[in-house]
Each structure stands twice: as structure tokens, then as C-alpha cells.
């Protein structure tokens, strides 16, 4: 190692502790635009329009670690005989736009909880397909804080 490269290595080392948390290897998979997300949503709805509302998505606006964000979905106030067929959850910046797809039915309540990974701060979209053939959507913006002191 030359003196120069050693000095520059130390220069990086003496930076803020938070620099440790940048993960270049994972960062290369963060998608720059939402084209694939729109495509995945189109595939889910078959090109039908999803009206905002009816579905409620609960996810903390500030997530402590992107490895695990609690996600709660609910479709309250459905009319008689109407049930939720599917709920698709899509992300904007993970390597793949699909997050989780839930298949419900007349015997299942439209309330589900799970935990998801978020590669970066981004917008999450949930779309519910009802038994009457309509689609409804909700979005949420999530900020992911980087963990301090990662394994190294």
C-alpha cells in the first residue's frame, strides 16, 4: 500500500461514525425510478384503475431498521357480501417491486399484519382487489434510518 492510499484510507476511517452504515454492495440494487413498480402494479390490476381510499395501510413513517418494518393492512367498511380477493403491496426502490401478495376470501377478514424489508426511504403502495371487481389503493412514505455500528 502506498503512503497516499494509506492516508486516504485513514481519511475515510476518521469520518463520521455513520459512514460505517453505508452499504455500497447493497446500494447498487436500489432502483432509481419507479417504472418496474408501475409495471408490477399494472400486472396486478390487469390495467384497471385503482381508486385511492378504502384500504388503510399502517406502517411507521420512520423505521429504525430497513430489515424489518411492521406493515398492517385493513379494508374497513365493506358492503354486504363484498369481500377482499387480493391485496398486493409494492415498493419503489427495493431490487424487486413486489413486496407481498395476499390472497383472502369471503371467510377471511381483510386485516393482515406482516414485516417487510425496505432497501431505502421510499413510497409503499398497497392495492386491494374486491369481489365486485374494483381496485382501491393506499400509499405511505417511509423514512428508513440507518443503523449505527453495523457488523464489520
Amino acid at each position: 500500500m502506498t503512503a497516499v492510499s494509506r492516508r486516504s484510507a485513514l481519511g475515510i476511517g476518521a469520518g463520521a461514525l455513520a459512514l460505517v452504515t453505508v452499504k455500497p454492495a447493497a446500494a447498487q440494487f436500489v432502483r432509481k425510478d419507479g417504472a418496474a413498480t408501475l409495471e408490477a402494479i399494472r400486472a396486478f390490476t390487469g390495467g384497471k384503475e385503482a381508486a385511492p381510499g378504502k384500504i388503510v395501510m399502517d406502517i411507521p413513517p420512520l423505521v429504525e431498521n430497513g430489515n424489518s418494518a411492521p406493515l398492517k393492512l385493513d379494508v374497513p367498511g365493506l358492503g354486504d357480501g363484498v369481500f377482499v380477493r387480493r391485496i398486493g403491496v409494492f415498493n419503489e426502490k427495493n431490487p424487486l417491486p413486489e413486496t407481498v401478495t395476499l390472497h383472502l376470501g369471503p371467510r377471511t377478514a381483510p386485516r393482515v399484519q406482516t414485516r417487510i424489508r425496505l432497501a431505502d426511504s421510499q413510497t409503499i403502495t398497497a392495492i386491494a382487489e374486491l369481489s365486485d371487481g374494483t381496485f382501491h389503493s393506499a400509499t405511505a412514505d417511509v423514512i428508513v434510518t440507518l443503523a449505527a455500528c453495523v457488523e464489520g
Binding site: E64, A147, A148
Partner: protein, 224 residues
């Protein structure tokens, strides 16, 4: 720690640390191949015999005349038990077994061993806590005493209490011991971390435990 991480810890079926504790329970009752003694053969039902034990560790070890932490106590016990599996530091088995033993103290206040022979080791642990280390020249105290409650980038700086270990860390996506966490911190300040099981770690654990008393044991905790 956010409300959602707390909720994850509080509900056993949401807490992935309980999966490890379940594995630990199986190991507690497992007989070595070809017969021989399990942990339960001597110690019986852990829910009774191990109640409150983890809250008192590290303890003074008569054999080595030094403090010993729970994981090394389990290892020492295994070494005397014919046919017992070797459980290296930070192995899945050792972490699981100590999570199961630790679970039996959940809710018990941390109670440092009052043995006076531990005092010099505890003092050494405090000195290690306060000594600046690494390229960043930071001590544990520089963050976890002086800046606890503040933020490092977006992350909250905690007071550095050890009462939930072994725990499930979201960053690890798995379980780990207090020593694993201490090593993360040391790497963070660009210091060379001692190997698992080093005397420095046990002394630090001893000091951290006295500093945390009487906080209740939370094992297996969930942390970001």
C-alpha cells in the same frame, strides 16, 4: 427504541428471539448421542432451577478465580458433561441455550453478584468503559454516558444497558450475544476487538451489569 420495536419484543409470537429460546429449550432437554446427561438431568426443570440466575451473571468462578459470564458457564458445564456438544462462542446453539436460560429471568431485576472478590474486575471493566479506543478515539462512555438520548445520524444513542441479551437485532436479522454487540461498537470506532470470550469482555459485562441494575431482564429482547 420505537413503539413498533417494543411491540415486537412484548408479544412472544412476534418476537423472533422466542424461536431461539425454543431451540434452547430443546437443547436443555437433549441427551447426548449414546445416552448420558442432558442439562435437565442435573438442573431439572429450567423454569424453576434457572429462575433469576441470568440476572446475577457474570458471577465469581471458584475454579478460575475470575468472573465468568453465562455463556462461559454453560461452556464450562458442557466440558464436564460426557458427550456434551461443543458449543463455540456465538454458535447458534450457545446463543439459543443462553437465551432459554436468560428467559427464566425475564422480569427479574438485574442483581449484581455482591461477592467482594469481583470488585477489582468490575473496576477494570469500568476503566475499559471509560478508556478512549480506536481511530476515532472514543470511549464507550463518550457516547453511552455523555450522549445517551442523542442521535448518531438517525439512530438513537442508547444508555448501553445489557439487560436484554442474548437478543434479536434487526440489523443482524438474527440473535447475538452482548459480546457480539460490543464487538460491533468497537468496529464502529475503528478499534480492534478482542476475540470472543476475552477477559476484557467479561470485565466489561460485569461493569455494564452493575451499571444497569436494577433494570429488569428482558431476554430475549428486540433491538434495532
Amino acid at each position: 427504541m420505537s413503539a413498533s420495536t417494543q411491540a415486537m419484543q412484548r408479544d412472544d409470537v412476534q418476537n423472533p428471539g422466542m424461536l431461539a429460546a425454543g431451540q434452547g429449550e430443546a437443547l436443555w432437554n437433549a441427551q447426548p448421542p449414546g445416552g448420558g446427561q442432558s442439562c435437565a438431568s442435573c438442573h431439572g426443570d429450567a423454569t424453576a432451577s434457572m429462575k433469576g440466575v441470568a440476572a446475577r451473571y457474570p458471577a465469581f468462578d471458584e475454579a478460575t478465580r475470575r468472573p465468568i459470564d453465562l455463556q462461559d458457564r454453560i461452556r464450562a458445564c458442557n466440558a464436564r458433561r460426557p458427550g456434551a456438544p461443543d458449543m463455540p462462542h456465538e454458535s447458534e446453539e450457545l446463543v439459543a441455550l443462553s437465551a432459554y436460560v436468560g428467559l427464566q429471568s425475564r422480569g427479574t431485576p438485574t442483581a449484581p453478584d455482591p461477592d467482594p472478590r469481583l470488585a477489582p474486575f468490575r473496576a477494570r471493566g469500568q476503566a475499559l468503559f471509560e478508556r478512549p479506543i480506536g481511530q476515532l478515539n472514543l470511549s464507550c462512555a463518550a457516547c453511552h454516558d455523555a450522549r445517551a438520548g442523542g442521535r448518531l445520524a438517525g439512530a438513537l444513542i442508547p444508555q448501553g444497558h445489557p439487560n436484554g441479551y442474548p437478543l434479536y437485532r434487526l440489523e443482524w436479522q438474527g440473535m447475538g450475544s452482548l459480546q457480539r454487540r460490543l464487538r460491533n461498537c468497537m468496529t464502529g470506532v475503528r478499534a480492534e476487538a478482542p476475540p470472543f470470550g476475552a477477559p476484557d469482555f467479561v470485565e466489561l459485562e460485569l461493569y455494564l451489569q452493575s451499571r444497569a441494575a436494577p433494570l429488569a431482564v428482558e431476554t430475549p429482547a428486540v433491538r434495532p
